[in-house]
Amino acid sequence: MTTADGVTVPRTSPRPNAALTGGPISEGRRRRRRAENIRGWVYCLPFLIAFGLFLIWPTIYGLWMSFTGTSLAGTKTGFVGLANWTEALGDANVWTSLANTAVFTVLSSIPLVLIAMGLAILVNVGLPGQWFWRLAFFLPFLLASTVVSKFWNWMYNPQLGLVNTVLGWFGITGPAWLQDPSTAMISVVITTVWWTIGFNFLLYLAALQNIPDQLYEAASLDGAGRWRKFRSITVPQLAPTTVLVLVLQLLSSLKVFDQIYQMTSGGPGGDTRPVLLYIYEVGFTGYRLGYASAISYIFFFMIIIVSLAYMVISSRRSVKA
């Protein structure tokens, strides 16, 4: 420990005069502190065991597996070096599914942030029956992904579905939404936006209600109009929430799996297959756990690179500010 004037004092004596008061007290204190430490660790133990068993160990074991030919069917071909990794880097399906994940993330994150903010602002301006809008926007989020997928599948059904029936009233022949390569991904995105927007909406609504009224009052006194107040008060005040929502959204969009597996199983022709679905296919229906692990790690490293880039950019920006 280093004090302000640069004198180094022993760690065990928190105060400079501790040495003067003699050994026994500091000895007792040390013992008590150790007991407290042990108690603390014991309280943490259940969590640490679960954390180690279900997160740390699988992460390490997965990395090891990526260097082996481990198969789900139990046949082990042992250490294969970098074979899985080089195969994965040369596998076109890895790259197309990574691209699909990226496309899905971009297409879904933007509306999930902007529309959520828009809905929250609309509800917050004092629409009558606020509880109803809050409920209506949040309710879909409570549904299980299976339920959401099933009924959107029926709505997108090319012959019997609601979407094409409604389009038919206007004389438009709708496409086979989930089976047409040009509409499949966007259809899944629309479903996802409808399903998960409630969560972001709620975060924004809470943030809006935390903006002090005085700010708006003061601005009004200065003659600011609605748009001016929105731009100069609401948006900046929401900035921390926007960062939070965006980060949470990117993370959840990157790990998209359920609704795509259930709605298109990655089709048509692999056009909606995200990388996690490909990993699942390779590992669990193709039995090649070793290879699947290698792809998982490639995806993992890419997320780390993106996160680092984000951190560097945002820290540089805050330095400038």
Partner: protein, 433 residues
């Protein structure tokens, strides 16, 4: 799967849960053999029928209890079975699709059946049709015991067919031997169908159903497919194109709806708005419940001998590190019982694999079952490989690449070549089994 059969499946699952626990109670006092653990993928009406059969067995003298575990059909089922078997703590008995067995067996995931022991319970090699027996033996070992075969067939609405004048004096669909004849017949059906379509075939988003249709006509044309490990896929390109063009002519917007998914095709036929429907025999239960007047036939051989794409539910012994002799004996006894009583299994549309049941006069009285029983002479299974069979990646990939062909977005050869490239990728890698 229709919504109706889903609901029935849920009901069936409830019933299974109940009987499972009852069986567990009943067997506590039985002579030492513990409950048999039995995994299968039969839900819906099939699950109910299976439960009745199993209950029949457990009621016989000295039978142990049977604990059924029903898992969803498709890839996850096989994943779980493989994991259980590789861990050596597998169930005592499981159901697999026969076409998937060749992929499983070489890896040591399945134990061998004892034909002598089955013989003791009255089941012999001669009791199975040749095409099915061939599927049961893998690498000279009796690896699975087929319960049935469930071919891909043609359903037709008897009222519409009658109105169109395409029924013979025996009340059956008139035979058609050439593509032109068949098209003519389909158009006549369409003329009398409310939707104007003679045929219904659902393919969107359903790789398996696309493969069933393709495999049926490709085989009729004499096409074959081989999947040598470490090599490349062997096939006849000319016949592939011919098959694809023929299928396209059936969904040209004149004979059939050009953009059906499975659910739509089923509902078209179930509501009596189309004349005929291509589908697996397992849909027959739903149609009977709907009350639509229908009959079924083997898909006519318009290019030569008829062919019926099929798979078989079959019994396997998942590998156990130290199998219990008494349990193994009970399992043989149980399977023999199920085979001999599979007449009730025929109710669901499947053709029992155990010939004495099909040859029994009682089976001839089952209609429409007896009208397509000749399919057992024309069965075509998936080409053997570790990645083929019902619900396999092979079907998924076929659907992924060929759907664009059926939807007229790419040419047949373009779609096919993309599919072949993916299969060749799989062949190039060592089998993980």
């Amino acid at each position: 799967m229709t919504r109706r059969s889903m609901l029935q499946g849920l009901g069936g699952l409830g019933a299974l849960g109940a009987t499972g626990s009852l069986a567990a109670c009943g067997s506590a006092g039985a002579q030492g053999v513990g409950d048999l653990a039995y995994w299968h993928l039969l839900s819906g009406p099939d699950g109910v029928t299976m439960t009745e059969l199993v209950d029949g067995y457990t009621a016989t003298d000295g039978a142990p209890g049977v604990k059924q575990t029903v898992l969803a059909w498709g890839a996850p089922y096989y994943t779980k079975l493989a994991m259980a078997s590789s861990g050596g703590r597998a169930p005592d008995l499981a159901v697999m699709h026969a076409a998937r067995v060749p992929g499983y067996a070489p890896g040591g995931l399945l134990d061998e059946w004892d034909l002598d022991l089955l013989g003791e319970f009255g089941v012999k090699k001669e009791d199975f049709p040749e095409l099915i027996w061939d599927k049961m033996v893998v690498d000279d070992k009796l690896t699975c015991i087929a319960l049935d075969s469930h071919p891909f067939v043609l359903y037709y609405n008897t009222d519409i067919a009658d109105a169109a004048g395409v029924l013979g004096s025996d009340g059956l669909l008139l035979p058609t031997n050439t593509p032109e004849d068949f098209r003519e017949l389909a158009l006549e059906l369409g003329a009398k169908s409310p939707s104007g379509y003679g045929l219904s075939w659902g393919y969107l988003g359903d790789g398996s159903n696309q493969w069933r249709m393709f495999s049926t006509y490709y085989t009729q044309l004499g096409g074959t497919i081989e999947l040598p490990e470490g090599g490349t896929m062997q096939y006849q390109e000319e016949l592939v194109v011919q098959t694809a063009e023929w299928i396209l002519s059936l969904i040209d917007g004149e004979v059939g709806n050009p953009g059906n998914d499975g659910g739509t095709a089923i509902s078209e036929f179930a509501t009596g708005s189309t004349g005929a429907f291509y589908g697996g025999v397992w849909e027959s239960g739903s149609y009977r419940n709907e009350g639509v007047p229908f009959d079924m036939t083997v898909i006519p051989g318009v290019f030569g001998e008829p062919a019926a794409y099929a798979d078989s539910h079959s019994f396997v012994l998942p590998h156990q590190s130290s199998p219990d002799e008494a349990k193994r004996r009970s399992v043989h006894e149980m399977v023999a019982y199920l085979l001999k009583n599979s007449i009730s299994w025929a109710g669901a549309g499947h053709i029992p694999a155990y010939s004495p049941v099909v040859q029994d006069p009682a089976y001839a009285k089952l209609i429409p079952q007896s009208h397509y029983a000749d399919a057992i002479d024309h069965l075509v299974y998936d080409p053997p490989a570790w990645f083929t069979g019902s619900g396999s990646d092979f079907h998924t990939y076929f659907g992924n690449d060929m759907q664009n062909v059926w939807a007229r977005r790419t040419s047949p050869l373009e779609g096919w070549n993309a599919f072949v490239a993916r299969i060749n990728d799989l062949l190039a890698k060592p089998s993980p089994m």
